[in-house]
Symmetry: C2
Subunit: 168 residues, 2 copies
DNA sequence: CGAGCTAAGTCTTGTTACGCAACCCTCCTC
DNA sequence: GAGGAGGGTTGCGTAACAAGACTTAGCTCG
């Protein structure tokens, strides 16, 4: 009937909406490659070992969603480069947070395979996720959720929703 | 021949290793639900509208990977609750970073559907990803990558790898 | 002048992962 | 003894995915 996963794009949840775009195995890795400096189709393909048709599909989606732009750098024959947009560049903190989690929980005794260097302060460092108000680390235990301005009116009355946001 | 996506679990990259676990549409949403307080199978199922067999599969994977634990809270008949482990709780910053990106780039004019409240400082706030050394925001343009202690020796000699890490 | 190479895909084919709905089992309550 | 909650499993169909061959168009080497 509808074997394809339903779209999350209109859910009242930024996690769902984001996952709707990057919620597959390859897309995050393509973005990582882009942050590493890859620009060309074959470069992505060789570095990741992704099937070419899958790469075509993912790049098209990233372009459609505005995270990347396709630049023509030569017209006869047409040759393209894929560049991150501002929206795409702004995804870096997410990958940095993922890297931090993976370094901590999935690296063996050898330690992290790759480390980050913050050029501004010239230190090897890792990403930390902090509260924008006080700068302290944001942990789940210290954080609660509240209804935002964009929450749909018609859902607010539902008892399960009420319960969910009761902690305000 | 091998239509299934290859495993990223042994790639020398924490993003790849993490995506190997959570790199599908549902897993991140299940974790979000867990942070919202869901514990039971039917609770996850109803809140997300996920197919039951898919949920079974994802919960099993999360348990196998150590992000959740299955607790027996009643033995006749057996009833279970799924609880986040420390490893699972530590994933919250990733979801907070994703939420921040989604709030900024995917919310309409109405604004974010859900806002975070940091109970420690008692402010509505959002997540910020900062450098662990200097506390400044971590942007892709200010950050470079270096070989970490866990990077496999045999790969270091490859010219494409050398080029990738040349910026140190 | 033809062979081969590069870039960026497209096409074909086959398998598998995923979603849906229906069903199952056990205990509990009315 | 009917119905409901809890926690799944089974069967079925579709669509996502991977592999690899093919395409087009120009350039280069001999």
């Amino acid at each position: 009937m509808s074997p394809a996963r339903p779209s999350f794009a209109n859910w009242p949840c930024s996690v769902a909406r984001t996952v709707d775009i990057i919620g597959d195995a390859w897309t995050s890795l393509i973005l990582r490659e882009a942050f590493y400096g890859s620009r060309r189709f074959d470069e992505f393909q060789q570095q990741l070992g992704i099937a070419r048709n899958t790469l075509t599909d993912r790049l098209r989606r990233l372009v459609d969603e505005g995270l990347m732009e396709k630049w023509l750098y030569e017209s006869e024959p047409p040759r393209h480069e894929y560049h991150l947009t501002e929206k795409g560049h702004d995804f870096f903190p997410v990958l940095a947070a993922i890297t931090r989690w993976g370094d901590r929980w999935l690296a063996g005794e050898e330690g992290a395979p790759v480390t980050l260097h913050h050029d501004v302060c010239d230190h090897d460092a890792h990403a930390e996720v902090v509260c924008s108000a006080c700068g302290e680390q944001m942990r789940s235990a210290d954080t609660s959720i509240r209804l935002g301005p964009g929450y749909p009116e018609r859902l607010k009355a539902r008892p399960d929703i009420q319960r969910r946001f009761a902690g305000s």
